[in-house]
Symmetry: C2
Subunit: 606 residues, 2 copies
Amino acid sequence: MTKPQDVFDSSDSVRTARPLRHAQTVEFAGPIKLELGGKLPSVTVAYETYGRLSEHRDNAILVCHALSGDSHVARHGAADDPGWWDTVVGPGKAIDTDKYFIVCPNMLGGCRGTTGPNSINPATGKPHGADFPNVTTTDIVDMQRRLADHLGIGQWLAVAGGSMGGHQSLTWATRYPARVRGAIPLATSPRLTSQALAFDVVGRNAIFRDPHYHGGQYYDKASAPHVGLALARMLGHITYLSPQAMQEKFAATKLRPRDVATEFEKKFSVGSYLAYQGDKFVERFDANSYITLSMAMDLFDLGATPGELADRLAKSQCRWLIISFTSDWLFPAEHAREIADALIALGRPVSYCNVRSDCGHDAFLLEDELPIYGGMISGFLANLRGESPTAHVPAELDGLDRYRPQSIFSTRRLDHDRIVELVPPQASVLDIGCGGGPVLSRLRQTGHTRLMGLELDEQALLACVRRGLDVVQVDVNKGLRIFADGQFDVVVLSLTLQSIRNVERVIADMLRVGRKAIVSFPNFGYHKLRATLANEGRVPEPFNWMGFRWYNTPAIRFLTIADFEEFCRERNFTVHQRVALNTEEGREVAGDANLNADMAIFVLSL
Amino acid sequence: MTKPQDVFDSSDSVRTARPLRHAQTVEFAGPIKLELGGKLPSVTVAYETYGRLSEHRDNAILVCHALSGDSHVARHGAADDPGWWDTVVGPGKAIDTDKYFIVCPNMLGGCRGTTGPNSINPATGKPHGADFPNVTTTDIVDMQRRLADHLGIGQWLAVAGGSMGGHQSLTWATRYPARVRGAIPLATSPRLTSQALAFDVVGRNAIFRDPHYHGGQYYDKASAPHVGLALARMLGHITYLSPQAMQEKFAATKLRPRDVATEFEKKFSVGSYLAYQGDKFVERFDANSYITLSMAMDLFDLGATPGELADRLAKSQCRWLIISFTSDWLFPAEHAREIADALIALGRPVSYCNVRSDCGHDAFLLEDELPIYGGMISGFLANLRGESPTAHVPAELDGLDRYRPQSIFSTRRLDHDRIVELVPPQASVLDIGCGGGPVLSRLRQTGHTRLMGLELDEQALLACVRRGLDVVQVDVNKGLRIFADGQFDVVVLSLTLQSIRNVERVIADMLRVGRKAIVSFPNFGYHKLRATLANEGRVPEPFNWMGFRWYNTPAIRFLTIADFEEFCRERNFTVHQRVALNTEEGREVAGDANLNADMAIFVLSL
């Protein structure tokens, strides 16, 4: 696991707002009214930019920082201080500063140059302190919108951000839909969990009840609420790491703390780490900003029910790439999934992946899972700009590896040919277990535009995103409840039936979600397979796929065409078409299909 | 979900140690030396008892409380204050006060009558305060041992405890092995996770850095470190609940807090809850005790490696019932499993279940999962006392439901008869997928004593525990790495092979762990099954078990006797015996087994 770095210059004071070295500032005259009723006489926004804005102003990407971040998203050169997202933003990186114009502003309410509690209130000549009004994510985004106007950016190619930065990308997409082509919310959610909220409450209480807080008016005092802020930061740090990451980092050295100069407990290694992080944080962050911004985060709510969420997201017009991380317990995957689910239900173009990671919430800042999430971001951005999908897709991701009928070694698969032919022109298609997207890509070539894939494998998901296909990570055994009745014209299940445990549920869901279902499967009734069992007393493996045997085949369901026909008859499914293939001989079968076909394709409806 | 109650009388002051209403006390003269070098001039132990000690003094159960608990484990009558474990301890309950004599002492270092930081130091006439020496779990248990001596209890029938109480039960079993017949550690671990430790560090820092802490000498001051202690308690509360439970409790009412009188933030419902819990806690608990006891918990370490853990646990002589809860993230299941794994590797009598629960760490205090964990405790205790297993085991848990050959409706199963015959006398046996224990029970009847079962299903595990069988919840697909090479004479896999995904791994593990393996499976080569496919073109279901069909059968692997023989031949397994059965006709098959048997039993070794 990569070690998260603390990238800030600890010598800066936060007693007064001061833009970072490379930041530019723009002042917006007021009064500026805020969502919850507050007012600011004027607002300064500090921001940094990277790369060059294209002639058509169509390559601008807004990067939104998280609770404790700032405008310094990346280095401006080799000699520069590290940025908080150097892993992702830079020349040749996932968000490529050679191709895109990147803008990263410090948030309203922050303490790094943009107006916040530590800014001088022109009315009093003193810092706002506790008088700084409550701000919301909407207010933060509205100032970013003013910045976009100032920079002459009518539409962002993308708005990207993790954690609280993800809240801003969600707000952009729903509040200024025409100004966002693509939204990339990472490690985020439509609202905090009650648990995450509870941690924030304890952190704020530690600050509020620090005797040096003085009700927020501590800027002219000899001391600031450093103990409370450090406690809040310690707590935050625990929530940013996964339990596994903490165990790996601290379990072996439990009683061998680092020798840090601190007044906090340092008996245990994890304690010395937290003490160090807490002490360092108070040098670069302002307690009032912490309270202001954490409260904005806690109040963020894109909708508490699927219905409310859908209402809000319905306003968006962009493509979506949503990424969560399996070990992130602060912004857990199931909450990110709620966003994806609502967009799916709305029929919006969305890709979603829950990236396998041990790094916890911090994963989106680290290199460990960069090949997946960074690869998806760069592929998504390239497709947004209309670059033709050139990504090489390995054969195994096109399903040629997992299920390759012996006679079909070319990339033209007889069964895929027939499935593509069976899909009516213009039909919308959901492909379950889509792999790297071989069928969907073919359908796109034949002019189909409303396409979506479901897949579990990360590499296959990445291949789809690179190809510009919308793909969502779903375990179909758990059902397709996210999809509305009749949401697709056709739902395809291509050579996947035999690997599914909940066959009844998946087929029922397909017929609910699709007006028609296309199902292909290996036929166990094929005469060669029958003969193997009858004459040799051995259980055959259809197609001899990849040399699988009875004890290791991914196929866990065995059926014949007759079995499937009975299955449909018992449930009164309408069978519109039945295609019987002999893939060994590369031809369609006319006569007794159950005896002569090694594969069948059924077109069904209720 | 049941609401956890706060069971303490908030009117008590904790400025001075005072036993609870029903507590008795005993004083042990000193000086008493402590593990880390400290000394106490004398120690008072406050404890409560329930039920009556039997004539043979063989029915005494020690219940150990957790961090913030006390001696009042249960009501002494209907009019009494609630106890912290009324769900489990009482007349007719899992720990039955009508049958057992229950003792619950307040921990050394606590603040409820047993000597702790708020006790008067006889040397100074003032409370110990911060001068109170560091205590460890060993010290806590040593005082309980003195109490046992005082009460004339030579051996506890069982030592039970959850969380930090679990640490005490582990310490008893390993430090005073001859004095413990059964250990019941619940929701506990051999050592805290780094994450749990980190939360404790933050909590202690909140107390240490509270200006009212005065280095621990606050008893004669006007105020105590209530803010710090309340912050620590708030944090603790978050960790005791599962994320699901918090969501259920607070998400819907997010912005509708309870109207509590508090100086803490109460903007959100979860905030008002935490504020209430924090404010209430400081009325009944002492900050120095919190620091003393949480430090004892943090220092507890039964071994950081499997080897160290095994060395410690090797000292134990008791039977074990270890229970964790799936949503407990403070004491996660995998850490409880480390204890069970070490005991398994040592060949000790242990049962383990990871009870499915949404209640988090608090689950062991609540009624929600009581039928499982309470049922296991009462069954375990009954067997410890040598009560004959009378529990009714439903037929389906004896495997009659899942796999019932048509002709065998009686509880005598032909295949079980043969398996029992194939096991040599006195052999130790591991039964993989043991269900409610039908084969193991038969083996016990035939004089086998070293028996262990592996099972996934909670109800089946409960049935085994009630029957007095040792059973461990294991997903065999993940391998049997916990078992040593050759640990058992025989490993049985009875009609389970066909439901296993990782066949190769499981069989290889069986042959490593057992000197011999007995494997039974349905034979897909049986002539009737062949005929169904060959003549009717339909995939047959062996035995027509329970009417399963191709799309819903739990069987996911299909094989014939010939397939299995080849499998063994390719791996050079020695086949010692092969029993071919025709269960339809209730007889053994002599001729062409692959054609005439519907079930086979193989005895293998490497």
